[in-house]
């Protein structure tokens, strides 16, 4: 490749320059010293200087390209490291806060007051066996039940007790009148407390409900939904001997259902 082509001339231009240079050499041979050769020498020197500079720039370009490649590789490696760091932050948070996960629902017990228009929890009426928690304090929908104290020490979520006895004592079950006791399966984010849980989602999987002397015991999902939709259905159930007997039967029923659910979940069987 001729120097003219390297400098950027088209192949036609380079051919013309080569041809003219050949003619000038011919005339030098023919006539010796020629006029205008000083300007020609200046032009040749200027072109040579620029070729030297182009060479240096090409070397610099190659060095920069190598450096860019190295930096890109380093960014990729740092990003892989960062991915580990992100996972590590989450793992450490889980460990520090003793977070666990469970493939099976967390079971707990709840009470509702039975009225003809519905089954009422402490905060609101339930109209089906399933309930999803909302935060009544912050009205926010993220990370419910809250665990950072933004909605109080006990906070939001669907409450369930670990055992029935404390429920009976705290709510003065004998004086509450018509009442329903349920076994609930908590799912999603569940916050464990000393004696109970707060869950993001709950499903009633067993229900013992009384109206007057009537007592309904069921672990059938459809039947539970029917009772939540129309609590007067309880009055169609048989009557029991006494309130004390009724409360005992309710407690026994949901506790048996809880044991069955746990045995099933853990893959053990009495059969």
């Amino acid at each position: 490749m001729s120097s003219e082509m390297e400098a950027g001339l088209s192949s036609d231009g380079a051919r013309r320059l080569d041809a003219l240079n050949a003619i000038v050499r011919l005339y030098q041979n023919r006539y010796g010293e020629l006029e205008g050769m000083a300007d020609l020498a200046k032009a040749r020197a200027a072109i040579a200087a620029r070729h030297r500079r182009l060479g240096r720039l090409a070397e610099e370009h190659e060095r920069i390209a190598k450096q860019m490649h190295a930096l890109t590789s380093e960014v990729e490696r740092i990003e892989r490291w960062m991915e580990f760091c992100l996972e590590d932050v989450v793992a450490r948070a889980k460990e520090v806060h003793a977070e666990g996960w469970s493939p099976s629902p967390v079971l707990g017990f709840r009470l509702w007051a039975v009225r003809s228009e519905g089954l009422f929890g402490v905060k609101m009426a339930w109209h089906s066996r399933r309930m999803k928690a909302t935060c009544l304090t912050t009205r926010g929908g993220d990370e419910i039940p809250h665990t950072d104290g933004r909605c109080g020490r006990l906070g939001c979520g669907i409450y369930a007790a670990k055992s029935v006895d404390p429920l009976y004592r705290e709510f003065d079950i004998a004086g509450i009148g018509d009442v329903a006791l349920g076994l609930v399966a908590l799912k999603g984010k569940v916050v464990e407390h000393d004696s109970g849980y707060r869950g993001a989602e709950a499903e009633v999987i067993a229900l013992a409900a009384s109206t007057g002397k009537h007592l309904l015991l069921t672990a059938n999902g459809d039947r539970i939904d029917e009772v939540f939709a129309d609590p007067t259905l309880i009055t169609r159930e048989p009557e029991t001997e006494s309130e004390r007997h009724r409360l005992f039967e309710m407690e026994t029923f949901v506790e048996i259902q809880a044991r069955r659910a746990t045995e099933w979940t853990l893959g053990t069987s009495n059969v």
């Binding site: 490696r77 590590d88 705290e170």
Partner: protein, 63 residues
């Protein structure tokens, strides 16, 4: 209803069983798995190495 002090968070996600998670351990209230913290990886390179605004290294990169 006072259920006492907050102890821990449990994430109930049945689908995690199928996604290659370690087998959960059993507790009083079912199977609950506790994550263990990952072991530390060595730093892959000198991340504290400074670069000027033009992006060139003030010293040679660790390759």
């Amino acid at each position: 209803m006072d259920i006492g002090n907050q102890q821990r968070v449990i994430i109930v996600e049945p689908e995690q069983v199928a996604s290659g998670q370690p087998r959960p351990v059993e507790t009083d209230s079912g199977r609950i798995h506790h994550e263990t913290s990952a072991t530390s990886w060595p730093l892959p390179l000198d991340m504290d190495q400074e670069h000027d605004e033009a992006g060139s290294l003030t010293s040679q990169p660790t390759l």
